[in-house]
Amino acid sequence: MTKLQNFILRTSVVLSIIFSVCPTAFAMHIMEGYLPPAMCIVWGVVCLPFVIKGLFTIKKIFAENRRAITMLAMSGAFIFVISALKIPSVTGSCSHMTGTGLGAILFGPCTVSILGIIVLIFQAILLAHGGLTTLGANTFSMAIAGPLLSYGIFRLCKKLNVSKKVGVFLAASLGDLFTYCITSIQLAIAYPSENGGVMASVVEFLGVFAPTQLPLAIVEGILTVLIVMALESYAVPELKAIGYEA
């Protein structure tokens, strides 16, 4: 990284920390206009360090590691497909998956944040799904918090010598669920319940999202395992190039 890149990254980390301790701080995607402006800004700034680190990593990949570009495209395309499919669930309502597990496993959480943002902007502008004002909050839940957990779980499973397929499955499905937990918390901070405050609100929103999302998380886990299996059989040189041992 150059000095300038380093400086930008550090500044953003500092800003992010300042904003996250700010007491007024307050997924699926949060709907356009449903978060107070102050919170939109706070979540946006909290995302900055991850996004900036991701940008630099992607820039480096393009300059030095041509083989990894195809894997990057694959991870991005996987998010495109998976997050466009609205799937019926046991609660009688539809929801969609995040698809960020694959990228998190292959590249780590920062790089995925860029891929996630592309999808979120696409959906916010063209589909009125999610929103530009809530982009920061949605990016944090879907493209940062979820992948971060996926990445951690995948690493942990590897350390504990759990079978790789199980590791990928757990990483992708728990990452998906975690995204929705974060969304519930974000909404709850913005809309604390009158009798019970934020915690009661978290439970309320989790009640809406969690049962719907549970089967979808399993589907997402399985689909991620399938694509990883395919890559392991046919794209060994690319996986080696990004440091993933098949």
Partner: protein
């Protein structure tokens, strides 16, 4: 059959049943988006809530995006994704075939 193929088929069957079972088990359910369920919840907690910003496309269209157009756009999104995945996978598979062919000759 190769072991991976069998695993793939079993896993795909599980996926299909997870998706199809709710559809048949809950006949007559609305299957609306859980985003909408989210907005309803917000109204429940907050009373009447007026979003302070409307989606750009809705502002431009002076109304909601027609349902069919919305599915079109979702299809475009899926199409872009599937196109890239299929193109790359196709290349990888052919490459492996080609390499194997060269070494066996």
């Amino acid at each position: 059959m190769n072991k991976n193929v069998i695993t793939t088929i079993i896993l795909l069957l599980i996926v299909a049943s997870l998706i199809l079972v709710p559809l048949f088990a809950l006949k007559g359910a609305e299957f609306g988006g859980s985003d909408d369920a989210g907005s309803t919840k917000v109204e429940e907690i907050q009373g009447d809530y007026e979003p302070w910003f409307t989606p750009v496309l809705e502002t431009a269209l002076h109304g909601e995006i027609p349902g069919e157009i919305e599915s079109l756009l979702f299809c475009v999104q899926t199409g872009i994704g599937v196109g890239v995945v299929a193109f790359l996978m196709g290349r990888f598979v052919e490459r492996k075939k080609y390499e194997n062919g060269n070494t066996s000759r």
